[in-house]
Symmetry: C3
Subunit: 443 residues, 3 copies
């Protein structure tokens, strides 16, 4: 059985919160977008941990219904008042410039400038995050409180950006397992300084991939770091055959805050990954929320489009759009915490453990119960009201190992953590009470 | 697509409450029963609006297990006291005489008379509605308060009725659509002066049928106005082949009061009409009740008998038998209101709209999402927390248009009003994103 | 139809509480274990009522994974203090000796003695029930309050037991019906003086079997009185072919207390016996609990092992392990009552009635409703709000007798007691409205 050794246990249980946080903090200042050097710089940080394979898709490439856009880069941007003060400065926060803003260098009256400024009147101290990838435009984003204090004067507006032919960049890392069947982990890398959404996801997946080195696994594990929507679409368009190998998948975003955890099911609704995540979350001791698939969210939208319909769910802490920090400058490094990142990591490794070890066993003595006592597997003093509880996992596994229930099915039916069912099954298998093939059939 | 033009929109949305009320008020005074001139007079009023085809089924005709009874007519009836006063007078309310009472002309002591009087002790001011179609008998119905004041004297009792060979009368109107598949609407016409039960249903169906003139529809629509039970049985017995064409159906009664709306499902429980009515009611802004099929109620009993098992449900406002006015003189013209009739009419046209337009589309670009933005179908500024809401219908339709979900299935899964899904689907189809046949297959 | 006669009615409805209690009280003092003379003496009492067939399975016989253990018998046991007083005496309660204690005759200091004493610190006045069938050991059980008063002195400890080659004993009684398909009732006979668990079950089954004499039934009824676990396993190992005939089954224990009733479903979860018991319990006027199968409990563990997967449920009053009296000296003759035993008996006969009479009828007039009135089957005065209630059973049976619903299916769908549906169906069948075969097909 895969991963039963101590290294696997270490993989599942270790606390990597500080490491994950450190990487998230390192990539937080980078100004990312769906193309450009920010993505490349981010992937270089990831590549310092794992052997990342980076792909460039040229501007103009057709990927299904979409076209890879021109590449966007930005060096500087500001709004300067008549006294020469930078009232808004890209150097202070890359959220200040709407992503994909075209270059501009103009003097404007306040009235005209205001048509190019986004604020959040209900959250007056926060800078909103805005993009305009496919409609040529430019804008600044700023705190509404500051916006209201702008004097009626002439402003010098500079966006020193470029929008020109180049390429879209994504990175991927493949951990090869016994089979070509894949478990896909996917994180979007297109957001600028938003710590939870998605520096947290990029950093968690990087360390998850790094920790798999040397582990023998049943499935191959693909870690995809790609710009949201267009990046996932580009990968799917260039890897249609590989996509068919994906047997389980999770999109990862916002995994460092204190909320949730939240799991959004696959479009299929009853995939193995749905079963595994629900078991892990239900027995996590936390207060998880499981929501049905809907076609709005992150890149599961693409993986679960009807032409692919892959079994890919979404794992988060707080649900996207449900918290005031979402897509604002409040999604900063104080909003995420090492202990939450560590917990999210553990929930992922436990889910991997369930997927890896979800096999079907056959009870070798299916007629009546086997005598557990003579094998030292059962409390020896009968009649005790409480002795039975500890034996329930054994009894459930023996009762349901009829070839029609996998260990995950059994864990769900018995309402037991998968890890308990798995470790109990190994003990029963060691005693010859479970076999991996029906009686009389060689494995 | 059928009915997408402005005429269809007018059909669906217009306010016919006043017209429906006026017709209900006009037929309210008529003394109807399961046979006789009251039914004929009622159908003449209906026929003044639509080209009704009226059928007469002679007394003695066998219709399945039943026999068409003798025809009943009544001219006058009263109870006169010793002072010559008519203490009960059919002319004041046709509920005063039990329907199908045989002729009587006698003098009786109070004690004997009382054995022929029905009252409602718990609702002492109301006259009950009673019938005795198949057991020869006679009786008066009166308010219990008046009954208790009857003096111990001799009464002259006259029921000037006739019970003799004749025929049972029903009327039907067929709106022909593109196909012979039918949508049946059925209302019972056998109750005397009960405004809600069922002058309201007769009047609503009449105006619904009238408004369909000139509309091109996919289904043919049959409107049946028949006496309860025996009338529906007679129609089914004489139209077994036609009955097989019924793909959707609704029995209509009590559609003018302030209660409900109530929908009782078909015996099948998961018919298209069940799905359509539940979608329309759930998004009606009202407080609907949906109840499972049971073999007690109106003529859905016959349509849903096991030998037919037609997909026919029951639409009402208040559920039958659940309100104090039911089958009493309180079910009068003050109990129904134009605004409730208008609302019921709208719920019917919206249901027709759902049935007519419930087609299966195929997403023509099923791999990943199509780029809605370049077609002007999507909010151009990304990152806004709220922009997504308006796009949900598009996303759901594209995601589920895989050949296995009709628009009604999608509306139910997405928890959206059918009308929103339908109109959004038309926009997507206009942009070539939906096709009515799978890719590569000509329609 | 089987059992429609008055004898069947008497069988179903009689009050046998006093008789059942008397037998339970008679066998209560016997010291039973999984082997030995206590079981034989108990079965002799059962055999005084029914023609019990008793089997002996020799020590050492292999039964599936188990081996019949040596036979255990006990004559006397006590703990005597230095003053020669028996501070614990088997003669006062056979719970004082842990079942299967090996012989011992020693003098011990209190400290050593304490290692061989079981008490219930949380229930200080009760003697616990303990066993050690498969691990050689000896122990006494006593009230914790008495245990704490033991002086620090030397005690003479005597257990005059024997553990030697012999046999395991079980008894069975077969009531032969029209078919070889069997309904199994199974009670464990291995507990010493525990009145509810399971003198009550033994006594109830004995009288149930006794009362079936002379009744013509569709199924054959097997009543099995066997030691828990090893006894059921022995029977199954020696009767594999017969076990395949079991179409319905109930394990019976703890049927005399005031709790419950409780029904634990079969492993299949949707067997006919599940349906029958749920119908009977839901309409019992009691507050039943129905719980899903789990592999912990009584001998349903063996019958529902995956190699057999028989449709056998568990009937109890209070659920095992859920009450403080469970497996203690408080489970005595005051804990069970004739009225509860009578009620349990009635629930069993009503369940048998449902299983025996659960047939599929065909509505002979499936097109529209038949005219019940002309057959005197329907309230003659229409329009009455309440007249319908009494007719609901007729309407449901006619509507659902389409060859796809048995009477039990109909009772469940209509939420009516099976007995009402059954008796109503007989009336309809007498009037020719139901047939036991489809129209045109001879039975």
């Amino acid at each position: 059985m895969t991963g039963a050794g101590p290294t696997w246990r270490q993989f599942i249980t270790e606390d990597l919160g500080a490491d994950i946080f450190a990487l998230a903090a390192k990539i937080y200042p980078i100004c990312r977008s769906i193309t450009g050097n920010g993505v490349r710089e981010t992937l270089r940080e990831v590549a310092s941990h794992i052997a990342l394979q980076v792909s460039e898709v040229p501007t103009g490439t057709q990927v299904f219904d979409w076209t890879i856009p021109r590449e966007w880069n930005i060096r500087d941007a500001y709004i300067k008042n008549e006294r020469g003060e930078r009232v808004v400065d890209f150097a202070r926060s890359n959220l200040h410039v709407m992503s994909y803003s075209v270059p501009v260098r103009r003097r404007l009256a306040l009235a005209e400038l205001k048509q190019h400024i986004h604020t959040l009147p209900d959250q007056p101290d926060l800078i909103p995050y805005r993009t305009s990838y496919y409609a040529e435009n430019w804008a600044f984003c700023m705190a509404h409180s500051q916006f209201e204090r702008l004097q009626d004067e002439t402003y010098e507006v500079v966006i020193n950006s470029s929008l020109s032919d180049g390429s879209l960049t994504y990175g991927e890392y493949l951990h090869r397992g016994e089979t070509e069947d894949e478990f896909l982990f996917s994180a979007h890398v297109c957001h600028p300084s938003l710590a939870n959404d998605n520096c947290s996801g990029i950093a968690l997946l990087t360390h998850l991939a790094k920790r798999m080195a040397g582990l023998e696994t049943r499935y191959s594990y693909r870690f995809l770091f790609a710009p949201g929507t267009i990046g996932a679409i580009a990968w799917l368009a260039r890897n249609e055959a590989k996509a068919r190998r994906i047997k389980h998948g999770l999109v990862m975003s916002m995994v460092g805050d204190a909320g949730g955890p939240t799991y959004k099911k696959t479009r299929r609704g009853n995939a193995k990954i749905d079963q595994a995540m629900m078991n892990v979350l239900r027995h996590s001791g936390l207060a998880p929320a499981v929501i049905d698939f809907s076609p709005y969210g992150y890149d599961e939208r693409q993986y679960c489009s009807p032409g692919f319909n892959l079994p890919v769910g979404l794992f988060q802490r707080s649900k996207f759009g449900s918290i005031p920090e979402y897509h604002t400058s409040a999604d900063n490094l104080e909003f995420i915490r090492p202990e939450h990142l560590s917990q999210s990591y553990r929930l992922m490794t436990e889910t991997i453990d369930a997927i890896e070890n979800d096999v079907i066993y056959y009870n070798t003595l299916p007629k009546c119960e086997p005598q557990l006592g003579k094998r030292g597997l059962y409390g020896a003093i009968g009649g005790d009201k409480n002795s039975a509880a500890a034996n329930m996992a054994m009894l459930w596994i023996l009762n349901l190992s009829d070839g029609m229930h996998s260990l995950l099915d059994i864990a769900e039916r018995a309402d037991l953590p998968f890890a308990v069912v798995r470790s109990t099954a190994y003990i029963l298998a060691e005693h010859g009470l479970l076999s991996s093939s029906p009686a009389g059939v060689s494995a």
